[in-house]
Subunit: 141 residues, 2 copies
DNA sequence: ATTGCAAGTGCAATGCATTCGCATTTATAA
DNA sequence: TTATAAATGCGAATGCATTGCACTTGCAAT
């Protein structure tokens, strides 16, 4: 499971007034079981493996609805596709391994603090932010 | 001019073996005179004001060629469109004012250093990175 | 100055991810 | 059980960006 969360995505959807249909149940299960940052096509592939016949437009619409409710997070890395992950308890940023495409999460309180400080210095308050480090494995490490 | 640079974009193009056509000259002038982060449509609009009849596909192709040569930088903020700026001497990051859409550049050596340090800790080396702070003006400041 | 040709351009067509219109089905509250 | 708003399937439409092809042009070699 992606993150140890008290409440399942399904329950959280119910509490947000979303209907739990057969397909939605499967989509939510797939999301809950995803540790990575799949795009819609990949999600559709995983859903179809469990329950064939779900239209990809349904996956798109469901992702939009969930993101609207803040139940999932939407990312767009350099390949331009929209990718999703269940909303994390705590904000984190991402490494993207440019050689493998793999996405790794990390968190740095120092960086978070520095961002706040810089924004304040400019007279801004941060609404959200995005930090992506495109990296490769260091040789000999 | 966007950044005080010794050499004009036109000269840099010549040195990279790119032909300076009539349209390209105009496109490069527009780029050089841009202080913001225009997308292709906006660039096309500015170019057309000087020299009508330049096809937007030409702007797209020119941007790709320039980016290939590292003469301009390509960005993609949350609206998903590709935006461009003349390649800066020194790397910087961006505030995006969510209320106005305005893009403001900033630079922080501390953040740059922290990123390196974190990447190293994970066994990575940074190829490139992207830090975008979506902000709004603070009230009463 | 002339010429040859690779590079650049216009235009329309195409690609690709995502959204939408509309008819049909379904979850849920009454 | 029923009413109805929400969800779905399907194909068409959208938006941004790229490409194929015929035509033009910059520029290096003559």
């Amino acid at each position: 499971m992606s993150s140890s969360r008290q409440e399942s995505l399904i329950d959280r959807c119910k509490h947000h007034g979303l209907r739990i249909t057969g397909q939605r149940r499967v989509i939510l299960e797939v999301l809950d079981a995803s540790d990575d940052h799949p795009d819609v096509e990949e999600l559709h592939r995983r859903v179809s493996a469990i329950e064939p016949g779900v239209n990809i437009a349904t996956v798109y619409r469901t992702m939009n609805k969930l993101a609207e409710q803040g139940l999932i997070e939407r990312h767009q890395f350099d390949d331009g596709r929209l990718r999703y992950e269940p909303a994390p308890e705590e904000h984190h940023d991402h490494f993207i391994n440019v050689e493998t495409g793999e996405v790794i999460e990390f968190r740095s309180d120092e960086i978070e603090d520095l961002q706040e400080e810089i924004a304040r210095k400019y007279g801004f308050e941060i609404v959200s932010h995005k930090l992506e480090l495109y990296v490769r494995r260091r040789k000999g490490h």
